[in-house]
């Protein structure tokens, strides 16, 4: 079956992932979010195999009428803060519930970047993306499983903002036109002053700078590659169950960014990180008593 790309189609992906007709936009628990704010950020609740989940996605067709650099799925100031509000609304909705009952958050990832404008810098785009990431980590700390599903573009700062703080990250395979990178290889070639052929040859043995799902898989940057979009529902549900199981076993740290660090060593793409951590810990162990 030929893969139908979902790039730029966040809303279509929501329909493919959630139980039919269950998506309620801008409503999470008792919170109703401002529909006019950050129109390109699509947030709300729905059901996945009957379980209530929060969904956070982007609609690449909508422009922000107030911030001209925000279009095509770019996450600007309003969008990032709205996404953060959706996370806090999810936390508030399940306040007092035991960790195993905290609703999962499903991040549908398709964004080319954060708002690259002067007004954004004057007011602090760094705060907006930072605020959303801190909210996601807090949700994880409280027991909410966070699973990201890359359906299109997971690019640099946008991927850090919306995706990389998840417990688990899944991606559609490259046949779906998914893009995961900091910069395309052509830009890296220009900056590192190497020709693109050399970089392509190097990337066969070293996944550390090349663009694409397969390289991020080797680095432990994504947990799983999904070959058929029809399987997204099953895969997301399965990972949610696994995250609950890890959390209740006191193994929360094995998910999320640091868990993916360990995965990168296991898959052989990011071995040095693990070595450095071990070496520095040994070094500190020799002097730790002085500080106790």
């Amino acid at each position: 079956m030929a893969a139908t790309s979902l790039v730029g189609k966040g809303r279509a992906a929501i329909s493919l992932i959630l139980d039919e007709g269950t998506f309620e936009e801008n409503r999470i628990g008792g919170t109703v979010l401002d529909a006019g704010l950050g129109p390109g950020a699509v947030v709300g609740s729905g059901r996945l195999n009957g379980r209530v989940v929060t969904v956070i996605a982007n609609d690449a067709k909508l422009r922000n009428p107030r911030f001209p650099v925000v279009y095509a799925g770019i996450i600007g100031l309003e969008e990032a803060y709205k996404m953060a509000e959706a996370v806090y609304a999810s936390i508030a909705a399940d306040d007092g519930l035991p960790p195993e009952k905290k609703r999962p958050l499903v991040l549908i990832v398709d964004s080319p970047g954060n708002g690259p404008g002067k007004i954004e810098e004057i007011f602090g785009m760094n705060k907006a993306t930072g605020a959303y990431q801190l909210a996601l980590i807090e949700a994880r700390q409280k027991g909410h499983p966070v699973v990201a599903m890359i359906i299109g573009r997971a690019i640099s700062g946008a991927f850090l903002c919306h995706g990389l703080q998840a417990d688990r990250i899944l991606t559609l395979s490259k046949e779906y036109g998914t893009m995961i990178h900091v910069m395309p290889l052509s830009s890296i070639a220009r900056i590192t002053k190497r020709d693109i052929e050399t970089l392509e040859t190097l990337s066969k043995t070293n996944p550390v700078f090349a663009s694409g799902a397969d390289y991020f898989y080797k680095l432990g940057g994504v947990e799983e590659i999904i070959e058929d979009s029809a399987n997204m529902r099953e895969a997301i549900s399965r990972h949610i169950d696994e995250v609950y199981a890890f959390n209740s076993a006191g193994r929360r740290e094995e998910n999320g960014p640091r868990g993916r660090g360990a995965l990168g060593a296991k898959r052989g793409g990011r071995k040095k990180r693990q070595q450095v951590l071990a070496l520095m810990e040994q070094e500190f162990a020799l002097i730790e008593d002085e500080y106790l």
Binding site: E78, Y81, A84, I122, G157, R260, V276
Partner: protein
């Protein structure tokens, strides 16, 4: 290396990462961990024909300020613009994890007065973010640091220091603003999308990256103080940054919390009211925002001495106390 007394009166802007690390903590107390003798160098740079550094561009270690252990992360802008790769990222992760573990041990051993004995982390930024030669690993390292900053909250105070030559841009722009407190000098610069990138993406009309004064008005220490992203603006000496850190570490953690600009729903809502202001004001320049906050001579602000600025400048009103 200069004598410690000489270090603390040296310019923070000009100082190397190692000078900052030694000068920020008490004299003679800095123990470098993962130092150059350990040869923790990038395995990726030689593949691209680039030189390596034996510390991979970040100095990490532990010292003391008074009774407290203080972990230090200090980035070196002279090595590939202080950009973060796999090894430097791992060194930084290691420091956060050590500080957290030491905190838990101290809290167990001294349940009565753990907060005054608990370790702190000071993070001296000089970086443009991800190192493109090993971009994917650098990106993943940023995510680890964000997670660890959130894990430190309520346990290990994390203080950002920004006043070095390269500034603090790219992903490190949000890593630094996510800590408990941001301290800057007037020469410090912080942002997400660097001036060159804005110009490249949106054109010279949006941002002329050769205009130094514009860069300072948009990302510099004075502007970020008026916006309350920076809580303390200090002189450009290692000693001035150190004194500010000392003052902060003498405060109970509860008091440090009030310097956060993000990290709760209330703070997000406060920022959203600022975003609403941005939409209405549509400023052409930061000076429009300074005027809006009640500064009647915004054009004069860049030339003010620190003392005059601290006395006269009108800052954004804070909604969350």
């Amino acid at each position: 290396m200069k004598a410690w007394e000489e270090l603390i009166s040296s310019s923070f802007y000009e100082a190397t990462a190692r000078q900052r690390a030694h000068g920020l903590v008490d004299a003679g107390t800095f123990n470098e961990l993962g130092g150059p003798n350990k040869r923790l160098k990038s395995p990726h740079l030689p593949e691209l024909g680039e030189a390596v550094s034996f510390d991979d561009g970040v100095v990490t270690g532990v010292g003391r300020i008074g009774a407290r252990p203080v972990f230090v992360i200090s980035q070196e802008g002279r090595f590939i613009g202080g950009a973060v790769g796999e090894v430097g990222g791992a060194k930084t992760t290691a420091i956060f994890q050590m500080a957290l573990r030491l905190h838990d041990k101290i809290a167990k051993k001294y349940p009565e007065d753990a907060s005054l004995r608990a370790p702190a982390i000071i993070y001296s930024f000089e970086t443009g973010g991800v190192r493109l030669h090993e971009a994917n690993a650098g990106l993943l390292a940023h995510a680890e640091q964000m997670e660890l900053i959130q894990e430190c909250r309520g346990k290990v105070p994390v203080i950002s220091l920004i006043g070095s030559k390269v500034g603090c841009f790219g992903g490190m722009g949000f890593v630094s603003i996510s800590t408990d407190v941001v301290v800057m000098s007037e020469l410090g610069r912080i942002g997400l999308t660097g001036p060159e990138v804005i110009e490249q993406e949106m054109g010279k009309k949006e941002f002329d990256s050769s205009d130094r004064a514009l860069i300072y008005r948009t990302t510099g220490g004075k502007h970020k103080t008026i916006m309350r992203d920076c809580s303390f603006l200090v002189d450009d000496t290692i000693g001035a940054f150190r004194d500010q850190v000392k003052t902060l570490l003498n405060m109970p953690y509860e008091q440090l919390k009030k310097y956060r600009s993000i990290g709760s729903l209330k703070l997000v809502q406060e920022q959203l009211s600022l975003v609403a202001l941005a939409a209405v004001l549509q400023p052409k320049d930061s000076t429009d925002v300074w005027a809006h906050f009640g500064n009647d001579n915004p054009e004069g602000i860049p030339d003010m001495e620190l003392e005059e600025f601290c006395r006269k400048a009108k800052l954004r009103h804070r909604e969350v106390e």
